[in-house]
């Protein structure tokens, strides 16, 4: 592209044309650093690292705070005013914390609501189970409604200890942990009873309760998209839905071992 200033030497001249006249070319280095960051990255295009580097400039996680403060200080020195960086970075619910799979962002992509509903119609017709129930929320809080409620079915596998048959649940059909817990009970109650029957147990169906508080015989755990095993119930529901990859109902007595040793394969090997 002609006239395009790739060359560092020409850049200061072009910047001089801008009437403001501040000495921003000192910041040139930072820009180049930014580009270098992009070039040196080994991550796939559009992957984690770019997103992270771009997002560290924005207010998100507190653990990035110190690094950000340093950058902010140099930036604000420019204008001669010193704005000290905020002590509390407000958690911004808009920007997704996910780095691998970008979660739903409010108001993005910039299409009108009726077009988003249209898109849902398409997905549902493509054979996925749809959960089109969600109307566009008209209240002022509609920004808080995260998109998953409008997606096609979000099926994850669920297995239960001592039950050989696994099932699948559509997480979009639920809106809370309690709801999910009930569903798990319904799914496995009969199967569990059948298992116990054959192994000489009582055979009557007992409700599966206490999945979330550790008080029941069983506890619900999940594996997230980073492969970590976690107890269900610790994070906000929507965050859970956007990170969960599979579910497992384990015996409460085996919680500590199940969670410490990452994958179930290892667990089986130990047992």
């Amino acid at each position: 592209m002609e006239g395009c200033p790739r060359n560092k030497e020409t850049c200061p001249k072009l910047l001089d044309l801008i009437p403001q006249g501040r000495k921003w070319y000192q910041e040139e280095k930072n820009n180049t650093d930014q580009e270098n960051k992009l070039e040196l990255r080994l991550a796939p295009p559009g992957g984690d690292e770019e997103a992270t580097s771009a997002m560290t400039k924005k207010k998100i996680e507190t653990r990035n705070n110190t690094k950000k403060e340093a950058e902010d200080k140099s930036l604000f020195n420019l204008s001669g005013n010193h704005f000290s960086p905020p002590k509390n970075t407000t958690y911004n619910p808009h920007i997704s914390l996910k780095r691998t799979a970008p979660g739903p962002v409010v108001g993005w992509p910039p299409v009108r609501s009726f077009r988003k509903n249209l898109a849902n119609t398409i997905s549902s017709k493509l054979g996925n189970e749809s959960s089109l129930g969600g109307q566009v929320n008209k209240s002022g809080d509609c920004e808080k409604q995260v998109q998953p409620s409008k997606r096609e079915g979000m099926f994850v596998k669920i297995n239960m200890d001592s039950v050989p048959i696994g099932r699948k649940v559509d997480l979009n059909a639920y809106n809370s942990y309690e709801h999910l817990s009930f569903a798990v009970d319904k799914l496995f109650r009969g199967l569990l009873a059948a298992q116990r029957d054959t192994s000489g147990g009582e055979g009557e169906e007992k409700p599966i309760i206490g999945l979330l508080d550790g008080k029941g015989e069983f506890t619900l755990t999940y594996e997230d998209n980073e492969g970590d095993k976690m107890l269900v119930g610790d994070v906000p529901w929507q965050m859970f839905v956007s990170s969960v990859k599979r579910l497992r109902v384990i015996k409460s007595s085996e919680i500590s071992s199940a969670l410490r040793f990452g994958c179930s394969k290892q667990q089986k090997m130990r047992a």
Binding site: C4, G46, F83, V105, I122, K138, G140
Partner: protein
């Protein structure tokens, strides 16, 4: 001192329609100012809070046509609370009280109530035209008042509004004597339609040129409608999920064949492929085609249809058309001026091979020399493609590219898209509107500031690194009117650098950026002619009660605009005007 009598000057002014030109005229001299304002018939107000109705009426007593816009653009994407404002009632009220001879009202993103519509319908005997775009707050009862009371109604055009449908008989409310309709668009109504009333209305409206029905009008009704209105120029059809039987199909096609004046086709919220083929006879006459609601239709059917549309100037389509489909468009539609490609799959669940990429965009730019407006949603882009597009199409006036994933770089080089967009602004010297996306650093804004001299509206999301980015734009783009920014690291330094710049702009929107409450307060102090609005999600937030500490608090959403009437009084609790 004028060389001609006032009447002559006024007559000369009559030939000048553009608002900008008339605004310029009124600055020439006191005499011209007076003649101009007394003869002005049409007024456009881009921000309803920049002025109030009383001052409007005082200045333009002969007002006949008023256009008003309310909420900021990002309200379309749910970033503005519904109760934010933009109420039309005070305007209608004031105009009615002053007995202005209003004939035409066009509203965009405003809140309209049934009471307002009723008042409107009763207050202006010569009222002819009502156009509502992206408005809300009313029901079909309001429409009934308009239908019943506006004796001279010619145009009722409802585009993409949120209307509560009471499934009433509003269409029945058009009196039998009403025969002046030229345009009727109720495509956004969700409920059932009284087909008999509609057919009678269309039958007694020989001047009807534009008819856009809603989903509930079935195929046989459409056939009858078209049969009694072969003069139609602009048709919006309903939803036709099921394939028609042979007889219906033949009747439909016969009716369509008679509509030799038909130039514009839209609707098709669902359409079985066979239905689409019924329109083949008039394809070659079409200049405007909107198939962007046709969710189910597969790319190949779309392509087959478009192949016949050689005179197309405007095309709105879904990305299910694919790159291959766009290549067909490029080779067929040599008259194409405006293209919009909307996303059909928003969830990125699968690797959608049929969606569009940079290849389709390049093909269009190469094949359509008259292209000047584009809105393009895609999953990936490259600098090389954008550079090629810029070379092929230096005539862009509107260039809006939306890469669905925020911060996505050039997928072949992993670099930012600065160079690509830079090429666009450098080549397209007449560019007035630009939306950028993908991975972008401050550099792209340097280019925009340098080259985009005619740029009036810029939309930024997830872009830039430092305040410099925003400053390049504010300093460089002399004609900037509307700047909207979200999720970008621009803060107080950029916001406050040149306060007087905002005198030349209509508005600035910043959400999820780095500006703080302190910065906004400071701006408000330095610019009393600005309304600086802070919008908070938590309605119970009373910002003014917070202590000094919280000046460092980041502002969730900032919307500022110049105004001559000070802070508005109708702001809801979630909005604080500093």
């Amino acid at each position: 001192m004028n060389y001609f009598p006032d009447e002559v000057i006024e007559h000369i002014f009559d030939f000048i329609a553009s608002h900008k030109d008339r605004n310029s005229i009124s600055l020439v001299s006191k005499s011209w100012h007076k003649i101009e304002r007394c003869s002005r018939k049409k007024v456009f107000i881009g921000n309803c809070y920049a002025i109030n109705p009383e001052r409007l009426i005082e200045r333009f007593p002969s007002l006949r046509s008023l256009t008003l816009k309310g909420k900021p653009h990002f309200a379309d994407f749910n970033l503005v609370p519904h109760e934010w404002g933009g109420f039309v009632h005070p305007w209608i009220d004031a105009l009615a009280k002053a007995r202005v001879g209003l004939e035409e009202l066009r509203l965009k993103r405003m809140v309209v109530s049934d009471e307002s519509l009723e008042l409107l319908s009763r207050s202006f005997a010569s009222f002819k035209s009502l156009v509502l775009v992206s408005c809300e707050g009313f029901t079909t009862d309001g429409l009934a008042s308009i239908a019943a009371n506006c004796r001279h109604l010619r145009e009722l055009d409802l585009q993409e509004n949120e209307i509560e449908d009471h499934r009433g008989q509003w269409l029945n409310c058009f009196p039998e004597t009403s025969t002046a309709l030229t345009s009727l668009n109720f495509s956004c109504l969700k409920g059932e339609t009284n087909l008999a009333a509609l057919e009678r209305l269309v039958a007694r409206s020989p001047n009807l040129e534009s008819l856009k029905v809603n989903r509930a009008v079935p195929l046989d009704a459409l056939t009858r409608l078209m049969s009694c209105a072969p003069q139609l120029v602009d048709l919006g059809v309903g939803s036709y999920e099921n394939e028609p039987d042979q007889e219906s199909f033949v009747k439909l096609m016969d009716a369509i064949k008679k509509c030799t004046e038909l130039r514009s086709l839209s609707g098709f919220s669902e359409v079985a492929p066979l239905c689409l083929t019924a329109f083949y006879p008039i394809c070659e006459n079409l200049t405007s085609l909107n198939l962007s609601y046709a969710a189910e239709i597969q790319g190949n059917h779309l392509v087959r249809f478009i192949q016949f549309c050689k005179r197309l100037q405007r095309l709105w389509i879904l990305d299910s058309i694919g790159d291959k489909g766009l290549e067909v468009v490029a080779s067929t539609c040599k008259e194409l001026q405006e293209l919009r490609v909307f996303p059909s799959d928003l969830h990125d669940e699968e690797d959608n091979d049929t969606a569009v990429t940079e290849i389709g965009l390049v093909a269009i730019s190469a094949g359509c020399p008259k292209l000047h407006s584009i809105l393009y949603f895609c999953k990936q882009m490259t600098n090389a493609a954008l550079i090629t597009v810029a070379k092929n199409c230096p005539n862009f006036i509107r260039f809006r590219l939306c890469i669905l994933e925020p911060n996505k770089p050039d997928h072949t080089t992993s670099q930012s898209l600065d160079e690509g967009f830079g090429a666009i602004v450098q080549a397209c010297k007449g560019l007035r509107r630009l939306s950028v996306s993908g991975l972008l650093t401050d550099k792209v804004f340097l280019y925009i500031g340098m080259y985009a001299e005619q740029l009036e509206m810029l939309s930024i999301a997830f872009a830039g690194d430092t305040d410099k980015g925003m400053l390049y734009v504010l300093n460089g783009c002399k004609k900037m009117r509307k700047l909207e920014i979200r999720d970008s690291p621009f803060g107080n330094a950029a916001l406050l650098a040149d306060v007087d710049k905002y005198r030349t702009m209509r508005s600035l929107w910043m959400s999820s950026c780095e500006v703080t409450l302190g910065g906004c307060k400071r701006l408000a102090r330095n610019a009393p002619w600005l309304n600086v609005e802070i919008i908070n999600e938590n309605e119970n937030n009373d910002l003014m009660e917070r202590n000094e500490e919280d000046e460092r608090e980041k502002v969730d959403r900032l919307y500022l605009y110049r105004t001559v009437v000070g802070a508005r009084k109708d702001a809801p609790p979630c909005v604080t005007i500093l």
